[in-house]
């Protein structure tokens, strides 16, 4: 009375709860027994409906319900549709209890799939409503994609819907992400374009997202979208390089390098001296994985006469390598490649310049905003990493202090940049011998190692490397210098069959077992282990020599 709530005593409440629970338990058991006996009647539907309304997460009950529905399915489309309509309403009631119930959303998909004429339009509206309730309800987002796919809902309309959600709340990460999936459908870029969307749309989207980051630069959602927008799409794996490297005697290796990891089946068809008979080539990946950027095959060719190797890919011109008569190495860079992608088009360049200007302004207005800096790093990198190298390094250093939790992430970014810059330089000066070195640059990891697959001599001394797993790609390397790093584990080097000189002075190799992986390197003659903990061991020299009898030089002190 008087609109005042009557508060029940706790004892009363508890009793009621208990009764309720017992009731439910009884129902649940009844449901299970029906399943066991295969009696799928109306009673079964009623029971599961009651139970699910209280607990929509009970998967088994949903399963029983589906079985019961199918058992009672009528041949008449109209009445079957009516039953399914009833299910849709029943699910809404369940979603009222928990709008993030896996079971309920899954059942809804099942119902829609079973409809003779699914009422798609109403479902789009339903999604609108639930997303209004909770804009990050990923169950509903998933269901929305399901509905959109089923209903042939125009992606244009969906794009509009995502815009409204973003305008309402620019922190809606899901809506931005959805947008990034829709835009390429609505505004597909030309086949050759490095952009994710057609230029017109790109410019409009950039304008919108820049307004978002100016409104709230501390929110990460628009920044992720911005980065997606200015990022360039890898256009599928490309063959970058083919080569033949002679190692010793008649032994040699054929090498294919790709821009992205590919399976072995992607390796071109190869003929040697016009025949593909003889022993078939056996391609292997240095890290033994199924997908790899580097594929190699052992191929022994007597070097006293000339050999021609042809590699052909469907739809691509045949690549030829001439080996022999004094030529021990034959390399061809297939793609006219920049280390990190293609040359920039004018539009991309001006677009990026504009983003750069905006971010610079924002950096002045809101100093110490990590998202601004991070975006600047990406944009400057894309524009011209060499010209902007000092600026990029400056921002990365600032980011490391501002965002210490991600210190290593920024260090890795810096390493990548250093590697890219060095590789570009390396490519230009390649003619005079094949030496690659990045020393004293604080590298924390080695990126782009596949571009060093045919390199003779690599020096990465005086960095901060602890993991060298990517060095397994250096299959042609004869001389490897890794002094002054933090390496503990040498096992990635076990596949570098060509290695003759290895220098790992001033590292953290502590265990003699670490050296056993070098046993497979039959060409290894010189090993520098100076200033590693392992050298302090008693009998270290004897034991290492026992382990690696082929060594000519062993430096321990």
């Amino acid at each position: 009375m008087h609109g005042r709530l009557k508060i029940k005593t706790t004892a009363e409440q508890a009793a009621e709860k208990k009764k309720e629970r017992e009731e439910k338990q009884k129902l649940y058991l009844a449901g299970l027994s029906k399943r066991a006996s295969g009696t799928y009647d109306e009673e079964c539907l009623k029971t599961t409906a009651q139970l699910l309304a209280a607990n929509p997460d009970a998967t088994t009950l949903w399963n029983i319900r589906r079985e019961a529905l199918l058992a009672g399915k009528s041949e008449d489309e109209e009445s079957w549709s009516e039953v399914l309509q009833g299910e849709l309403k029943m699910i809404v009631a369940c979603l009222g209890k928990n709008h993030k119930s896996y079971g309920a959303w899954h059942h809804r998909c099942w119902v829609m799939e079973n409809f003779p004429n699914p009422p798609w339009a109403a479902e789009v509206k339903l999604c609108d409503n639930y997303l209004k309730l909770d804009e990050r309800n990923f169950h509903c987002w998933d269901y929305r994609r399901f509905v959109v796919a089923g209903s042939k809902q125009q992606p244009e309309d969906e794009l509009k819907a995502s815009q409204q959600l973003i305008e309402h709340n620019l922190s809606n990460y899901s809506a931005w992400h959805y947008r990034s999936k829709l835009l390429p459908l609505v505004h597909p870029p030309p086949a050759t374009s490095p952009h994710p969307v057609a230029e017109q749309a790109l410019i409009k989207e950039l304008q919108m997202v820049v307004e978002a980051v100016f409104t709230d630069p501390s929110d990460q959602s628009p920044w992720f979208f911005l980065r997606w927008l200015v990022g360039r799409q890898e256009k599928g794996p490309r063959l970058l390089q083919v080569g033949y490297i002679h190692t010793q005697g008649e032994a040699g290796k054929l090498v294919c390098v790709f821009s992205q990891p590919v399976p072995q089946s992607a390796v071109p068809e190869t003929t040697v001296d016009g025949v593909n008979g003889g022993a078939p080539l056996c391609w292997w990946a240095p890290d033994k994985s199924v997908y790899s950027r580097v594929w190699a095959a052992d191929l022994s060719l007597p070097l006293d006469k000339e050999h021609s190797i042809n590699l052909s890919q469907t739809g691509q011109p045949t690549r030829s390598l001439m080996v022999g008569q004094g030529v021990a190495r034959a390399l061809e860079w297939v793609a006219n490649m920049e280390v990190c992608g293609e040359e920039l088009s004018d539009t991309t360049r001006s677009t990026l310049e504009e983003v750069k200007e905006n971010c610079t302004t924002l950096d002045e207005l809101d100093p110490d905003n990590k998202w601004v800096m991070l975006t600047l790093v990406h944009v400057l990198w894309a524009l011209d990493s060499r010209a902007h190298l000092p600026a990029i390094l400056h921002y990365l250093a600032q980011l490391q202090t501002l965002d210490p939790l991600r210190h290593n992430y920024y260090a890795d970014m810096k390493s990548k940049l250093v590697m890219e810059t060095a590789l570009r330089k390396h490519r230009v000066t390649e003619v005079d011998g094949d030496k690659f070195h990045v020393c004293g640059q604080d590298l924390t990891r080695v990126t782009h190692s596949h571009l060093l697959a045919t390199t003779d001599c690599v020096d990465l001394s005086n960095n901060s490397l602890s993991s060298i797993s990517s060095l397994c790609n250096l299959i042609a390397c004869k001389e490897l210098t890794l002094d002054q790093n933090e390496i503990q584990n040498l096992s990635p080097l076990s596949a570098l069959a060509a290695l003759q000189h290895l220098s790992v002075a001033n590292n953290k190799i502590a265990d003699i077992k670490q050296l056993s992986c070098l046993q497979s390197l039959t060409n290894l003659r010189h090993l520098n282990l100076k200033n590693n903990p392992v050298c302090e061991m008693e009998d270290s020299e004897t034991r290492i020599r026992e382990l690696l009898p082929g060594l000519q030089t062993l430096i321990l002190r």
């Binding site: 109306e42 539907l45 009623k46 309304a53 009528s74 009445s79 009516e82 009833g86 309403k89 809404v92």
Partner: protein
């Protein structure tokens, strides 16, 4: 609604859509408005119900085939006593029960006035039910059943004689109203209201409220 298929969705169990409606009670003092509500909502009856202690705001649900109808019941809170009922009372009401006392002819006359008033004041689609209460006192009857029924038919009203004391027709009259109410499919929220109702649970914007 006829059962058309062998596997019908079961009724009850809180499933299907939920529709919420505002229902107002009207009628002279002491005809038993509050008693009807009390009987309907709590199943109680008090012989000496204090006058005008209106159940100001009670809710009760009625289950139809596939719809749960939730009544938000407004009693007059006694403001009708001195002809001072606030117009706010009618706002947005989708249903009304006009109550009279079958042992008192005057209250029937007043009931007719209330019906006219509703037709003028309330929304045009309002569902009106006429309840001749205190049917347990049939021996003191002053308003004939037929008279009221004829009047109800002429004015397209639902009509029942009820007794809050014996519970006769109390649930039935609410159920009849529930059946007659238009149930829109806008079931995500279940509310038929146009505006917002402020609630204690409403979010209070945090320190960054201005920004979200």
């Amino acid at each position: 609604m006829a059962q058309r298929t062998s596997v019908q969705r079961p009724s009850g169990g809180g499933q299907g859509k939920i529709c919420q409606f505002k229902l107002v009670l009207l009628g002279e003092s002491a005809v038993g408005k509050s008693s009807l509500v009390l009987r309907f909502v709590k199943g109680q009856f008090h012989e000496y119900q204090e006058s005008t202690i209106g159940a100001a705001f009670l809710t009760q649900t009625v289950c139809l085939d596939d719809t749960t109808v939730k009544f938000e019941i407004w009693d007059t809170a006694g403001q009708e006593r001195y002809h001072s009922l606030a117009p706010m009372y009618y706002r947005g009401a989708q249903a009304a029960i006009v109550v009279y006392d079958i042992t008192n002819q005057d209250t029937f006359g007043r009931a007719k006035t209330w019906v006219k008033e509703l037709q003028r004041q309330a929304s045009p689609n309002i569902v009106i039910a006429l309840a001749g209460n205190k049917a347990d006192l049939a021996n003191k009857r002053m308003v004939e059943y037929e008279e009221a029924q004829t009047y109800a038919e002429e004015n397209s009203l639902l009509f029942m004689e009820t007794s809050a004391k014996t519970a006769m027709n109390v649930n039935d009259i609410f159920l009849a109203i529930a059946k007659k109410l238009p149930k829109s499919d806008n079931s995500a929220t279940g509310s038929q209201r146009e505006g917002m109702t402020l609630r204690p649970s409403d979010p209070t914007p945090g320190p960054a409220g201005c920004c979200k």
